[in-house]
């Protein structure tokens, strides 16, 4: 404890400063403004997360059975091959859909931001995010109608003379569904980032003899890198914990971490302890991704698009 008051700041002065800070008119406003949301976060986010953490530390905890002592058994159970496979699959789904979204979304965002007719631009952006106005459940059901053997896609393939596909209930269907669900987010973020692209640099590069490829890789990409990072991380986070798409489109081939967690809570064994441990791992993975997003992502594009 360093309690030596500095000579330059005498005690009475410090006291009046404190009194000023503690004066109701100084803190009443911020507390009144932040209080409700702070309380909300504390009651509905912090406390539940701490409860999950506590439950996850009781090995073998079952609903309806006496609880044992604390330990790390639930976390060690995750290391069994069958669960590691589920984790690996969740990661693959998330990474795969992120890459698909980037590959499909970048050209669209580029066209929207730099090439589309200016008077139409806002309308086009709205048209692109229109699907987000419907429920994700509804959109996943729509995809089952499209992808099933006698569905829309195979009818189309039949007309075009292409071989019919049985994609429903396979990982392919999950990737298609996830990419579709999260593409608008990617496009919006990339759009916001590309819109701010300094086109004068492109012109200068062209004047100096850079070909379109060089201009793209040396100017467009580096300038929009924070937007790309933000879009990728956001899609990754959303895809990692998605429950609806793998459940409806993946069938027997797509157990992922959120379905596994669901089964622990509402399945036959009711292993709430193990389910909580899985939830903590997912929370940790998502928090890590959010930390990366805050550090490397273009925060302004994320906040702009979410407004």
């Amino acid at each position: 404890m360093a309690e030596s008051p500095l000579p330059s700041s005498p005690a009475p002065d410090w006291g009046s400063h404190l009194a000023q800070t503690l004066a109701p008119q100084r803190w009443l406003g911020p507390v009144a403004m932040l209080g409700p949301s702070g309380l909300w976060l504390f009651l509905l986010l912090v406390i539940p997360t701490l409860l999950i953490l506590e439950i996850s530390l009781v090995p073998g905890l079952r609903l309806g059975q006496p609880a044992g002592g604390y330990g790390l058994g639930n976390y060690l159970q995750i290391l069994e091959p069958v669960y590691l496979r589920v984790m690996g699959r969740s990661l693959a789904f998330a990474l795969g859909s992120t890459l698909l979204c980037l590959g499909l979304g970048f050209p669209v965002a580029y066209w929207l931001a730099l090439m589309s007719p200016k008077p139409w631009r806002n309308l086009l952006v709205v048209a692109f995010i229109l699907p987000l106005w419907t429920s994700s459940l509804l959109r996943a059901y729509a995809w089952t109608t499209i992808l099933r053997p006698s569905g829309v896609l195979n009818t189309l393939f039949g007309v075009l003379g292409l071989p019919s596909q049985t994609w429903l209930n396979t990982p392919t269907a999950v990737l298609i569904g996830l990419a579709y669900s999260f593409l608008p987010y990617m496009v919006l973020i990339l759009y916001a980032s590309l819109e701010k692209l300094d086109t004068r640099l492109l012109e200068a590069a062209a004047d100096l003899g850079a070909n379109p490829q060089q201009r793209f890789w040396k100017i467009t990409v580096p300038q929009t890198l924070p937007g790309i990072a933000a879009g990728c991380l956001l899609v990754f986070i959303a895809a990692l914990g998605d429950f609806v798409v793998p459940t409806l489109l993946g069938g027997a081939s797509s157990m992922n971490i959120s379905r596994l967690i669901y089964n622990q809570f509402l399945g036959p064994t009711r292993a709430w302890g193990f389910g909580s441990a899985l939830s903590m791992v997912l929370i940790l993975a998502v928090s890590l991704a959010i930390a990366l997003l805050l550090k490397y992502g273009d925060r302004s594009t994320v906040t702009e698009t979410s407004q």
Binding site: I47, L50, L51, E54, I55, V58, L61, L63, G64, Q65, P66, A67, V82, Y83, R85, V86, R148, P149, S150, G151, T166, L168, N169, T170, G251, A252, S253, M255, L260, N263, F265, L266, G267, P268, T269, R270, A271, W272
Partner: protein
């Protein structure tokens, strides 16, 4: 927070509710507007129906305290045993019931709830194979059909998303009991089901209806109550009870210990025990009633429907799924996770 572990394991406390409202928690298609309107007209009690699609979801909700509004539950046979063990179901006061003696003999003293002490049998059925004739090679007669034709049926099969039922099929194919607790037999069943796993489109208890009607699925393992209704909708669909036997299930009426409106619950049970009421409900909703007096009132074409009321020799080869010890249940669960996560 330090107390949350204890709270988790304690049954929820009794709530108090509006005496003119009865909340029931049941399976889909077990009641309809006609049934509810008739009850409300008779008693003046409003009925609110909530639906669950698996026993586990209902159990979890009741145990976590989210079901305090319900005065009537519809648990299945072995689940009654489990819930009684957990102190979630009230003992039924038989002196308040009228017509219990109308139950069929098999349900007078069921093994899952001796003497019907905590439950009243409502309906029963089988688990079997629903198939679409147009896209199925041949007509299945037994479970082994799935294994014998796995290449032709590949990714056109759904099995129930139900650990005991579906691993039970593999046990049955191997000649073992649904209720075995022998680890070697359970593991053998896992191996058998693993052979079929790559050919299974999905594990689904509901949601296969449109796909099988469209011919995208050939065969779905289904409960008779769901399957028979579909076969009447479309003549290409048929339901078979596997020849080597299947699981026989009973869904019951029970009163949770947390019931806010016990009087209305007894009125509901008595209402459904009335032969005329039960008969009318069965005619509309097509499930097999456990009520002999109601059965006797049914028209011949329903009584002689072998799918709804299978002959005794089929029943003799079948068995009810029973509650098993935790260690065996865990083993089932481990293999079930392996199958569903493969």
């Amino acid at each position: 927070m330090a107390n949350c572990r204890q709270n988790l394991t304690r049954p929820p406390v009794t709530g108090s509710g509006d005496p003119n409202t009865l909340h029931i928690y049941t399976w889909a298609n077990y009641s309809d507007d006609g049934l509810i309107a008739a009850f409300t007209e008779r008693t003046g009690i409003r009925v609110v129906v909530d639906i669950f699609d698996s026993n586990e979801i209902m159990q979890t909700k009741m145990r976590a305290g989210g079901g305090a509004a319900y005065s009537i539950l519809y648990p299945s046979d072995y689940v009654v045993s489990e819930m009684v063990g957990d102190g979630l179901l009230s003992a039924i006061d038989h002196s308040r019931l009228v017509g219990l003696e109308n139950l069929k003999k098999q349900w007078q003293n069921p093994t899952y709830d001796p003497g019907n002490a905590h439950s009243v049998p409502f309906n029963w059925g089988t688990t079997g194979l629903l198939y679409n004739r147009d896209v199925t090679p041949g007509s299945p007669e037994d479970w082994i059909f799935l294994w014998d034709n796995q290449d032709a049926l590949s990714r056109r099969i759904t099995l129930l998303d139900d650990m005991r039922e579906t691993l039970g099929v593999a046990l049955k194919v191997l000649g073992y009991s649904y209720n075995t607790t022998d680890p070697a037999q359970i593991e053998a069943a896992y191996g058998k089901l693993r052979e079929l796993q790559p050919h299974i489109a999905a594990f689904k208890t509901t949601g296969f209806e449109n796909e099988i009607l469209a011919g995208d699925l050939s065969i779905s393992m289904a409960y008779s109550s769901d399957a028979i209704a579909l076969t009447l909708e479309d003549e290409r669909l048929d339901y078979v009870i596997p020849a080597s036997g299947t699981s026989l299930w009973t869904d019951t009426l029970a009163i949770p210990t947390s019931a806010p409106n016990v009087d209305a619950a007894y009125q509901w049970i008595n209402f459904l025990l009335e032969p005329e009421v039960a008969k009318a409900a069965v005619e509309r909703l097509l499930f097999a009633t456990a009520n002999q007096a109601a059965f006797d009132l049914l028209p011949d074409e329903i009584r002689n429907n072998d799918q709804l009321y299978p002959p005794d020799e089929v029943l003799d080869r079948s068995e009810g799924i029973q509650s098993i010890d935790t260690a065996s249940n865990d083993l089932f669960d481990r293999f079930w996770t392996e199958i569903t996560s493969a």
